[in-house]
Amino acid sequence: MKIHSPIDSGPPHAATVLARTQESPTIFTLKLQLDDAAAQAAYRFAPGQFNMLYLYGVGEVPISIMSDPGDRSGIGHTIRALGRVTQGLSALQPGDKVGLRGPFGRGWPLQEVGGNDIVLVTGGLGCAPVVSVIHYILKRRERFGKLVIIQGVKHTEDLIWREQYDRWAKLPNTQVLVAASQGGDKWPWHVGHVVELFSLARFDPTCATAMMCGPEGMMRAAADSLLQRGLSPMRLFLSMERNMQCAVGRCGHCQFGGAFVCRDGPVFSWNEAKSLLGHRGF
């Protein structure tokens, strides 16, 4: 599994907001560039890794990187404005400055799964860490088999990047399955739990890799369903979310059993995560 180390272990690097996109009433995307040219040139990441973004005077938050690692024009972060830092970040405009440390953690095992069918399962804003995988695969389409994108949301308005899902659905060898727990007008996709879509997914379980991100209960249900279809637990991966303050396995907040999610994750194999996944309190 390819892991990129942070450019250094010191304080953040200054970065500039190149562009800001409002994705939904509460979700926005920032495209950032490191101010120091040498740092920008040295910066590499793998899909699934994250950065610590610093808002002046307020603090840092861990945000996964959603852009393509080959795209050198900037580093993309899709963020939901919920806490103090993310609400502050949502007010930033092009030209504004932030701090950036990273990249941190272990990303998706994309190098190792060439030739496989890829099943991506996401819930809510869990789609952000997985969207980088979609970008990665679509740019290197010949390396992979079928691509199945399964996305669940609670409310129809929670689905961001709707046009992208429409576009992906029209690509060859690609299947897009979307569900909303509560439907609405002009909702073209399934109404119900995302797990109900699994029977429609077309992939070869003997030669497929699944990657999941979203609420832990949803991931557990999705894993049960995928494993039942014959997917090997060795080929099932998920990305976890926990409180992270240092990003280097030191501050202790992100502990999940014996693992430090920031350092040992956020991507885990099913066997690593299964014992405590969804267990309230861990």
Partner: protein, 266 residues
């Protein structure tokens, strides 16, 4: 929904007083050099204790000290709310009714008659109540009085365009960060630190004294467990109830704790 201002503006700020001792306003005045920096970054339009007087103008932030204790307080707080974008309650009086709320459980007419030679001159409400009982409060800063660093943290957050941080941790966290020795364990005194909000910097334990709960209840305040330990230390139920019935007697968590101890005593 967010308790925020535009980071670019120089906010207009008012400091209002209700039924209180003025101690929380002093937390502003005691900021020293920071008060000068504050005056640079905000426009203080009303702060009677410091000079500026303009209670009726529109402001971005109104800091409100004191409880609602008189009919006049009731109308004035409505007026202030209508003219303030954000309203921040500061101090025990504003957040729980304060020390004067000790009267809430008693018969007002009776004690007024006992204390004052002209009871008819007293125009107070039956109960002293926190600001949030009367108008929407955007943020509460607990403490008797609030501390300078707390005030600065709130002002800094608002100037940065983000919501103030609500620290509901226990006094013990600040006590241990100061490397202080637990007075309950080493002296057997009934310290309220384990159920009380941080913010004072463990002022009393730093002087070898037990915390008396002036910052109000912390999150997940296990008052039953603390009452049990106070009993173990030899306090009578009456004494335990009094520990909870002090500066923040009407804070629901402390009031319930005292009621529970008294009920067991009966």
């Amino acid at each position: 929904m967010a308790v925020t201002l535009q980071p670019s503006i120089k906010p207009r700020v008012a400091v209002h007083k209700f039924s209180s001792c003025d101690g929380c306003q002093l937390a502003f005045l005691n900021l020293g050099e920071d008060l000068l920096a504050l005056a640079e970054r905000v426009e203080l339009v009303h702060f009677a204790e410091a000079g500026p007087l303009d209670p009726d103008t529109d402001v971005d932030v109104a800091f409100v000290e004191g409880s609602v204790s008189t009919p006049e307080d009731q109308t004035r707080i409505q007026h202030i709310r209508q003219h303030s974008r954000l309203l921040i309650a500061i101090g025990a009086c504003a957040t729980s009714g304060g020390i004067q709320a000790l009267r809430n459980g008693s018969n007002r007419a009776e004690w007024v008659a006992q204390i004052y030679s002209h009871p008819e001159a007293i125009d107070s409400l039956e109960r002293s109540t926190p600001i949030a009982n009367h108008v929407k409060v955007d943020f509460e800063l607990w403490g008797c009085p609030v501390s300078g660093p707390q005030i600065l943290a709130v002002v800094n957050a608002l100037l940065l365009g983000v919501a103030p941080h609500d620290n509901a941790d226990k006094v013990c966290t600040e006590c241990k960060r100061r490397n202080l020795t637990c007075v309950m364990v080493s002296h057997g005194v009934a310290c309220m630190g384990p159920v009380t909000r941080a913010g004072c910097g463990a002022l009393c334990p730093g002087l070898g004294r037990d915390c008396y709960g002036c910052y109000g209840p912390a999150e997940n305040a296990n008052t039953d467990a603390l009452a049990a330990q106070f009993s173990h230390l030899g306090l009578t139920p009456r004494a335990i109830a009094r520990r909870f019935q002090s500066i923040n007697s009407q804070a629901p968590v402390f009031l319930a704790a005292a009621d529970k101890v008294r009920a067991r005593d009966d």
